[in-house]
Amino acid sequence: MSSDLRTIRELAEREYKWGFVTDIQEDRVPKGLSEETIRLISAKKSEPDFMLDWRLKAFRHWASLESAQAEPKWANLRYGPIDYQDITYYSAPLQKPTLHSLNELDPELLRTYEKLGIPLEEQKRLAGVAVDAVFDSVSVATTFKEKLAAAGVVFCSFSEAVQQHPDLVRKYLGTVVPHTDNFFAALNAAVFSDGSFVYVPKGVRCPMELSTYFRINAAETGQFERTLIIADEGAYVSYLEGCTAPIRDANQLHAAVVELIAHDDAQIKYSTVQNWYPGDKNGKGGVYNFVTKRGKCQGRNSKISWTQVETGSAITWKYPSCILQGDNSVGEFYSVALTNNYQQADTGTKMIHIGKNTRSTIVSKGISAGFGQNTYRGGVKILKGATGARNYTQCDSLLVGDKCGAHTFPYIEVKNATARMEHEASTSKIGEDQLFYLRQRGLKPEDAVSMIVNGFCKRVFRELPMEFAVEAQKLLSVSLEGSVG
């Protein structure tokens, strides 16, 4: 076992290869948070009054929570206090005010995305994935806009949506995650600077995968993006987000909100590959990732499916959830969360069954390596009227080495006796016998571990769009490096 631990350590010392910084001129507001900051952000984005009012309302709520010290502390996470006045809430790459084509984009930015493997030039897109790229606080490019527009699909930055589709924004913003939902949701509502907006009209099947790529570049800057996706009756959309950040010694705050709304017979598939900078091997630096993601299956027979691969961030606090309001609606949550070195994750989901014959599936795979702490937190609620509701939960933890931890907090609340609930859970350790077997066949210890872990996560990877599943597997191997024997 001692040699396994050695290998784990070696693996953990692998570098984060997305950690470079782009040297680009920024337009940023001064550090700190006040009504002034909110007004400044809103003005910079030339927002209509309803947006400013909404932000100010959220800010006042957040300020009251902050002075009451109501930052949530119930999660199984340990970190020092966050100084909300020591953060820059808006930073944007300085560039020409309006872009007519990608050719006008700062070449330094384009190079950054190329380095990250995110080709923005449309002719290079082979997979047919439309990409929106958010750099620090603002969206810098959205590809394939015209093709999508022809199908009637709106896919643009949130700022653009506020200008071009204010009625849709006004109708849906905050209807799934109100600004009063929690501390970080309130903060986001006050200061969010950009994000993606998707509207898929009645009966339209979105002709391609939609994807947003988030990048924090500037130092001492928080990123607060907000994404809103609406699938109208009978619509279908698959959306993927990816995230990276440079290596920095200081912790950076990321507090995002995602709202999904599915009308009758609509389906939304939302996939995340989260690889924010996790901090170094001693736990220095890294992104604090406090995210509120929630989908509402508002219509009958609607379906919302979350798939997440969480390998980055020093702290992850995230519970993509489903409100199953429409009869026969379906909620799914597939998750792989990996914590290595000193990373901590408290993640899981909530499934709220309101409508009749609503079904939910939860498959959570937690992997802890190094000194990593991994917590699954789940809430399944069957309300009184949810006759015939069903839930299946599978929650597995895998430990790599003997310094890490796995924790599980499943809450189940059933108020209707017709409900059918299944809960399976397991905790296992990568066995010395498994490692020896694979090594005897010629595999290096790190390849053996990565094979075992990938096998463990297979059920979740199956849910990812093909090209991203391959990426996720590679990412997992890299994130594990230095972790195992």
Partner: protein, 255 residues
């Protein structure tokens, strides 16, 4: 030079000495059988040869193809051409048998500086090997050893041996738990693998396997020492008289 040369091997697990001075010499092209009662140290010998690290070698040496085997990590020994068919094959959930085998083969090829084989070329190659062992193709797409029957697991080990084409194969009680049909299939696989360039060591409790695979040499391991060595006729003698006749004969070491 022998392919494998074990000299005066002493092995300890915790405070207990399991192997107490084993000597064994195996040349390319030979099939050896190491027989012995339960607890005699047969499996320990197999595991030490495959470089399992939980065993402490406190005396003696092992050379494999002229190199010091005790300096090698398990994967290095494997890449040098040493293969162990496990007594208890391990399950790897979520990884298909075919993918696992291709990864293993490519690890060996990479080590030897050869080109890796892609999925398209690998499949027909694997099918051919599977046919030899009467293995259902569906097993290739199932997770490694997961929900395999005992017989399927053992056949899977032989399939891996056939695919990886080792220079030295050690079969640790491959016959245990097999019915007579499975035993025949396994034996056929082993017999077709016999070659002047390859050596095999069959570790077994029973003489039964040797009805199907006739070894060149038989060694009897009792209480951590090889007490008798001989030809195939020694196995027959053991079958008649049992191991008890040889117990306590540890002093009369034959090398």
């Amino acid at each position: 030079m022998s392919l494998l040369e074990v000299r005066n091997l002493h092995v300890r697990v915790g405070t207990r000495e399991i192997l107490k001075g084993v000597n064994l010499r195996v040349n390319a092209g030979e099939v050896h059988s190491v027989m012995g009662p339960n607890g005699s140290g047969k499996s320990t010998l197999a595991q030490v040869l495959a470089r399992r690290e939980s065993y402490e070698v406190n005396e003696g040496s092992i050379s494999f193809d002229g190199k010091d085997l005790l300096q090698m990590k398990p994967e290095e020994a494997a890449c040098q051409g040493l293969f162990l068919a496990f007594q208890y094959p391990v399950e790897i959930p979520g990884i298909s048998n075919a993918y696992f085998l291709r990864s293993a083969l490519n690890a060996l090829r990479k080590y030897r500086g050869e080109e890796e084989i892609d999925a398209v070329d690998f499949l027909p190659f694997l099918r051919e090997k599977a046919r030899l062992l009467d293995m259902d193709e569906k097993l290739m797409n199932r997770s490694v050893n997961e929900s395999f029957s005992g017989g399927e697991k053992k056949r899977n080990e032989i399939l891996q041996m056939a695919a990886l084409e080792p220079r030295l194969a050690i079969l640790d009680e491959t016959d245990s738990g097999l019915d007579i049909d499975a035993l025949r299939v396994v034996a056929r696989g082993v017999n077709t693998m016999r070659s002047p360039k390859r050596a095999m060591v069959l570790v077994t409790h029973y003489q039964r396997l040797l009805n199907y695979i006739v070894p060149d040499f038989v060694h009897v391991l009792v209480d951590g020492r090889i007490v008798r060595s001989g030809g195939p006729e020694l196995a027959m003698e053991l079958e008649e008289k049992g191991y008890s006749a040889l117990e306590g004969a540890g002093a009369a070491v034959v090398t």
